[in-house]
């Protein structure tokens, strides 16, 4: 039997648990108890290091409390103690699936502080690499979702695509994962000879492969539909209220994309659609991701067709020392709105750097929508949010 003390104790644990207990009267009548279970931090199916304290009624989750911080590397503190250009490699390690967007946000913030003019070719290359980064992040996240549902094939196809994009990135930036490519004032180096053609060929191939290798394989599958349709369903009000951005917000039908509504860099010149879906469940998030990959392909083609000539680096001097003030850089990363707030006191190092990572904010969703679902449904819901350990812990 669930005693009164027990209820108060659990309420003290979460602050909201008591209201969530499903039918406490029924439980009293039959003398049933709920089971507290800890999922993670080391769990084979978990996206990185995350601990969920679950209260289970049978196989139904009654309460879900998120405990994070297992990969906290205090990026904000380290950033305060490095010079402005030296912070870029640190931002690389925030969201390690989509590094380019992380660099981009920080660099935009510093450039706003410096009031710097960026050469158009650098802007175009940034947008180009950013879209490749989005594809590189979205396709594996579809693969991870399928892997968690028990399908092994899509992850192999997904990593084949990621590998090929990594080869292109290696040729351009010199690194396969931590690129350190976007610099304050431009990009590290121009695209090597032959790379635009290689990119074009790859994109053409991906466009053809997307349908047979991903959509046909996944979309009609009965198990996929059974495990994802109606799972993690949320309304638009809830999504806006929870401050969600990115795919979790767009799959409920709210049309918001930083690239469209707060345009930056080369995105002002590009023609693309914001993909939305009406359902707001895991299946809808998969559809939105596929649609966004197609839009990225479209954007990359536009950029490659009309790549401006010229320098790729503005001359800002060796010593970057912005005046007092604050600058905010906001980009659409693969997971949502990523913003960096840099506060300067006029010295070599930033006075304060704040990273608004979409994963941290989107993860609040877990404690709101997981209660009421079955235990195995947590993993598809994680696939809907698609968090990255490094990004939520900073």
């Amino acid at each position: 039997m669930l005693s009164e003390e027990r209820r108060i104790e659990s309420a003290a644990l979460s602050g909201r648990a008591a209201g969530r207990l499903a039918n406490p009267d029924v439980r009293d009548e039959f003398g049933l108890e709920t089971l507290d279970m800890s999922m993670g931090p080391q769990h084979p199916a978990m996206h990185g290091l995350l601990r969920l304290i679950l209260e289970l009624d049978g196989e139904t989750v009654v309460r879900c409390d998120t405990v994070m911080g297992y990969l906290h590397r205090s990026k904000e503190k380290i950033s305060e103690n490095r010079m402005y250009p030296a912070v870029i490699p640190i931002t690389d390690r925030i969201d390690y699936m989509n590094n380019i967007a992380m660099e981009y946000g920080y660099v935009l913030a510093v450039e706003k502080l410096l009031d710097a003019e960026i050469p158009p070719r650098a802007d175009a290359i940034r947008a180009l690499m950013n879209e490749f980064g989005r594809i590189m992040s979205h396709i594996p996240s579809i693969g991870f979702l399928m892997l968690e549902l028990g399908a092994f094939t899509p992850i192999l196809y997904a990593f084949r695509e990621r590998e090929r994009i990594q080869n292109i990135f290696e040729a351009v930036t010199g690194a396969r994962m931590m690129f350190h490519y976007i610099r304050i004032g431009g990009v590290k180096a121009d695209l090597p000879e032959g790379i635009p053609e290689q990119m074009w060929n790859y994109i053409e191939g991906l466009e053809q492969r997307l349908q047979p290798d991903f959509v046909d394989l996944i979309e009609g599958n009965e198990i996929f539909i059974a495990r994802t349709r109606g799972i993690g369903k949320m309304t638009q009000e809830k999504a806006v209220e929870m401050g969600l951005t990115g795919v979790p917000l767009r799959c409920t039908g709210a049309e918001f994309d930083v690239r469209k509504h707060y345009p930056y860099g080369w995105y002002k010149n590009l023609d693309f659609d914001v993909i939305t879906d009406t359902e707001g469940d895991v299946e809808a998030s998969y559809r939105v991701r596929i649609g966004e990959v197609k839009q990225s392909i479209r954007m990359i083609k536009q950029i490659l067709e009309d790549l401006p000539e010229g320098e790729v680096m503005a001359d800002l001097g060796r010593r970057i020392r912005p005046a007092e003030g604050d600058g905010i850089g906001r980009v659409e990363s693969a997971r949502g709105e990523y913003a960096v707030h840099v506060v300067s006191d006029g010295s070599d190092t930033p006075y304060r750097v704040h990273y608004r990572t979409p994963c941290t904010v989107n993860m609040q969703l877990l404690q709101e929508i997981v209660p009421g679902h079955y235990l195995p449904d947590i993993m598809p819901i994680m696939g809907l949010i698609d968090p990255v350990s490094g990004a939520w812990d900073k």
Partner: protein, 215 residues
């Protein structure tokens, strides 16, 4: 007499087979069109703009007028009232109480989305920056200063439920307490045995790198 294979029950003349195939294809196409139509009508039935359930003033007018309206809202304190403060974690209806009525206030304010809260330690005082977006190109930045070693400020979770973890993070890193927060715990650091707030300027680390000490 037709060959043996053609006398089987399953045998169908080629022309008929072709016809059946075409028929099936047409049926499939019709079904698909039907689904598409349903999808389209469903989309068409959605209200304009965000299509939110609650009565929401959608951002109207050009950027200047919108921003003016928001700033007026802040100047008059509209929506910036602290929610009822109670002891954290004791009242079961608490979360519902806080979110209930939040829509009204956000509606009057016209700003839908709290992007982030930045705390800056100005040694002796704390500067808080609230970045708000209307999701349609408008943005409002609210700055406020809190004095003292142990700062307390009203929570905005009543207006923006998403502020929950932003405020927890601020509390964790700076020790800024938010009055009226439903669940003020540390977000990253160890809850039980860690007494520091690591982003304070008084919390020193050994590797400060500047231009001068490069060599």
């Amino acid at each position: 007499m037709p060959p043996a294979s053609q006398t089987d029950v399953g045998w169908i003349p080629k022309e008929v087979k072709k016809k059946l195939k075409e028929q099936k294809k047409a049926e499939q196409a019709a079904a698909e069109a039907d689904v598409q139509k349903k999808r389209l009508t469903r989309r068409a039935r959605r209200p304009e703009g965000y299509g939110l359930g609650w009565p929401l003033t959608l951002p109207e007018g050009d950027l200047q007028t919108r921003l003016k309206r928001y700033l007026e809202g802040f100047a008059t304190g509209m929506g910036w009232r602290s929610p009822r403060s109670r002891e954290p974690g004791t009242d079961r209806d608490r979360a519902e109480d806080l979110t209930g009525g939040a829509d009204d206030r956000a509606e009057r304010l016209g700003v839908l989305h709290l992007s982030f809260i930045t705390v800056v330690d100005r040694v002796g005082s704390f500067e808080l920056t609230y970045e708000l977006l209307d999701l349609r190109g408008g943005q409002v930045r609210v700055k406020t200063k809190v004095e003292g070693e142990e700062p307390v400020i009203d929570s905005v979770t009543g207006i923006y439920p998403t502020a929950n973890w932003h405020e927890r993070e601020a509390y964790d890193m700076f020790g800024v307490a938010f009055k009226g927060h439903p669940d003020l715990r540390r977000l990253y650091m160890w809850q039980d045995h860690f007494d520091h707030h690591p982003l304070l300027k008084s919390f020193e680390i050994s590797t400060k790198r500047t231009f001068e000490n490069l060599r």
